[in-house]
Symmetry: C2
Subunit: 352 residues, 2 copies
Amino acid sequence: MITTKKRGGLANVVAGDSNICLCGATDESLLIRGYSIEDLAQSATFEEVVFLLLAGRLPKRGELFEGSYEVDELFLKVPQNASPMDFLRTAVSLAGTLWADEPNPALRLITSLPTILLSWMKQKKLPLKRGSIAKNFLELLHEKEATAKQIRALDISLILYSEHEFNASTFVVRTIASTMSDYYSAICGGIGALAGPLHGGANERAYDLIHQFKSADEAEKKILEMLSQKIRIMGFGHRVYTTKDPRSDIIKNIAQSLASAASDSYLFEVANRIEEVMWHEKMLFPNLDFYSALVYHWLDIPKSLFTPLFVLSRLSGWSAHFIEQQSNNKLIRPLSNYTGPKHQPWIPLEER
Amino acid sequence: MITTKKRGGLANVVAGDSNICLCGATDESLLIRGYSIEDLAQSATFEEVVFLLLAGRLPKRGELFEGSYEVDELFLKVPQNASPMDFLRTAVSLAGTLWADEPNPALRLITSLPTILLSWMKQKKLPLKRGSIAKNFLELLHEKEATAKQIRALDISLILYSEHEFNASTFVVRTIASTMSDYYSAICGGIGALAGPLHGGANERAYDLIHQFKSADEAEKKILEMLSQKIRIMGFGHRVYTTKDPRSDIIKNIAQSLASAASDSYLFEVANRIEEVMWHEKMLFPNLDFYSALVYHWLDIPKSLFTPLFVLSRLSGWSAHFIEQQSNNKLIRPLSNYTGPKHQPWIPLEER
């Protein structure tokens, strides 16, 4: 049992009330609007979770959005050498200038940003197909039909990444919202935070880690070496959870089910062994990012899109927090502890 | 003496160490890297304050940056109907895709963003003139020479707005930085936060307030009415200071000195009367935004550029905080207090 109280970086500091998500530190559970993440992954679609997050309740029949938006040419002008994360941040900022009169910016962004991203990557205006966001993404990316199993794997991944309480990017969204700024500004901030390797970038680095080993035995040997050299292993541990991430079992099952059809199915054994070693040596458990890397790999999603997919999902949680923050607002403005010098006398340039 | 402890929104919560700025809650003073705001406004140039913020010490002779950067055509393609704040957020995001190899993004952004903004507004690539940022801004904006008095007024305003501890936008910059994300992402977040009317937008609203009165007597009468109707008066009070904002006296003096040459100098008397009424009725003091509105008005700066000028100045403080956060990093990740339902049973769509 790990009982050390985590400190610094506002760890364990309650920064506000929220009725969106319970990230249970005691029973290691996750509830979104009161629904368990297990139930949502089992029974909901990502579109239902989006509705649940934005409206605070599950949709009735006929309430789910089924429209589509055209992709503006301007998005394609963002330089091609930009990273997809830089593109998403810029695209949302541009959307703020293009969609000024949009009555429901959250719904529009969640439903159209996947197509905007892929249109930019392929440098052609893609149609926003009917069907789920997951199906649309896979089929526009690969330019062929996806199987029901592939679509549902991505759909569940989008559900798992959709919302997670006051994580760094969501807290950025809320802090920007607390100045009563606009939706697009808040989301730009969230994307910027998620771009950091300590936040959204972890699944890319988990992929690099797993992918470098040819067998479970090799992984065990090398991970032990890395631990002895105090190298940080990405995809393990969590600021809030202390013994397990409830999302990890769900995504691990999906990874296992996709492995059976893959030519490099040994990667699942590699990942599983890394998990065993990390628990045995450090009492650290895999978080959502670890097995997500394998799921995306077996969905033929390039690594550069792992973190962007996190954005396309988390947009839903960010939007819920934006709405909640502004509905009962208080400016978020902490203090710092000053550690610098006091009362420095001014010295003119010529005497320095 | 106001002693009520302010609560909520992390008020009075220390979120980390910093040696950049002391925003003195007890003696209502402001130190930047240990130098008093009075000394800096009296003797420094904005360029020296930028150096002080970025490097942690005053520059020696020959150390100040004197180069220039060309404006990229891409910036001019941002839609003309965007607000200048939306433009700045988008421009910084685009800069992140254009300047990937820039070794000193902070210095480049601080010295070139004023020209980029004005180039977009005028839809032509403007030259980055030699001379101070204040002189460059006024002369490119008005397309004529500015007087030394005008230039120094803007220069001091840039100094006063440059840095202010863990305010909402700076805290956003630090939270994004704490994921080890990139500089441009962090600054985009800062701009987004500053765009909110409870933060950077206050000087625009202070201008609207002052400008609606034809005399000091009218202002007194109307402000009393507004207070009795519980209407919030912008430009007064502060989350940290309780009896005065040390920057206000400095900018008030500048406003007074510019008033003498203005045809609408009565606005200074209007503002002064509002200040008296607010103190008498509510024990609230003007913050930096209040008299800044008049200074900008008398520098012929359009209201839509008030908050953008705040950005062009605060870039320096944000940059210092970005560097400091990443030099000794800890992910900023607080908790929320969950107020929603627990254990909602899943209900299939057809039964809802």
